[in-house]
Amino acid sequence: MIEALAFYVLAALVLGLAVLVITARNTVHSVLFLVANFLCVAVLYVLLAAEFLAVIQVLVYAGGIVVLYLFVVMLVNLKRSTELDEDPRRRSRLGFAAAAALLAEITAIVAYSWTRNPQPTFAPHIPSSGNTQEVGRLLYLDYLVPFEVASMLLLVAMIGAIVLARKEAEGERSEASGEERAERSEPGGVQGSPPFKR
C-alpha cells in the first residue's frame, strides 16, 4: 500500500521533471530539473531493491555527470537562446509524430505481453546476502572482461575529452607553427597534421 503510493508519487515526479527538463527555456534550470529527476529515479531503484544501483545513480549521475553539464553550460554562456531563430528546414511536428509512433509501438508491445500474462507480480524478495555483495560477485566473477572493457572505455573517454576540450596554449601554438615552418623549409619533409584552427 505504502509502496504503491510511493511509486505513484515518484512516477509523477519523474515524468513531470522530465517534461520540465525538455521544456525549460533556461539551460541551467534544465540541468537542475535533471538532477531532481535522477534523484527520484534513484529512489525508484531503492523501491526495486537495487540499493547499490541507487547509490551509484546518486554518485555518478547526480554528482558527476550533471556537474559536468553545469560546467559546460556556464562555460559557453549563450547570449541569446538557440530556440529563437527559426529554421525553415526544421520540422518539429515531424519529431512529435515520430515520438508518438514510438510511444504507440512500445504501448502495443506492453499491451500484447499483458494479454499473454495479465498479472505478473514481483516475487517476494528475500535477500540472501547484501545487494552490493551480490552485484560485486557477479561483476567480478561472471562479468570480469566487460568490467575491464568498461574501465578501458572510461580511460579512452577521459583522454578524448581532454584532447577535445583543451584550449591550445599560446606558447605551444607558436612552437607548433615553428616546427611547421621548419618542415616546410626542407623539401620533401613529411608534413605533420596541421594544428587545430580556432
Binding site: T27, S30, T82, A98, V110, L138, G160
Partner: protein, 102 residues
C-alpha cells in the same frame, strides 16, 4: 489500490523514454539534446532494474551499471565536442551543425 507490477515500471519507463525522444527531436540546444539522451538511458536502466527485481537476479543491475559507465563516457566526450564546436562557431544550435550533412 492494486499492487505494483512490472507493468507499472514498464509504462513509466516507456513514457520517460518518449519524453527523451521528443527532447532529442524538437529542441535545438545541443546541451538539452544530450540531457534528453541521458533521460532515455535512465528509462532503460529503470526497465533493467524492474526486470532484475521480477526475476530476482541481480544481472540486470550489473547491466545497468555498464549503461551508467557508457553514459558517463558519452557525456564527457559529447561535452568536449560541444566546447570545441562552441569555440569555433559561437553557437550551440544543432541546425548550424550541418557541415557534414551534404
Amino acid at each position: 489500490m492494486t499492487p505494483i507490477t512490472p507493468y507499472h515500471y514498464l509504462v513509466l519507463a516507456a513514457a520517460l523514454f518518449t519524453i527523451g525522444v521528443i527532447g532529442v527531436m524538437v529542441r535545438r540546444n545541443i546541451i538539452v539534446v544530450l540531457m534528453s539522451i541521458e533521460l532515455m538511458l535512465n528509462a532503460v536502466n529503470l526497465n533493467l532494474a524492474a526486470f532484475s527485481r521480477q526475476l530476482d537476479h541481480v544481472v540486470g543491475q550489473v547491466f545497468a551499471l555498464f549503461i551508467i559507465t557508457v553514459a558517463a563516457a558519452e557525456a564527457a566526450v559529447g561535452l568536449g565536442i560541444i566546447l570545441a564546436f562552441y569555440r569555433n562557431k559561437d553557437t550551440l544550435n544543432i541546425d548550424d551543425m550541418s557541415l557534414l550533412k551534404w
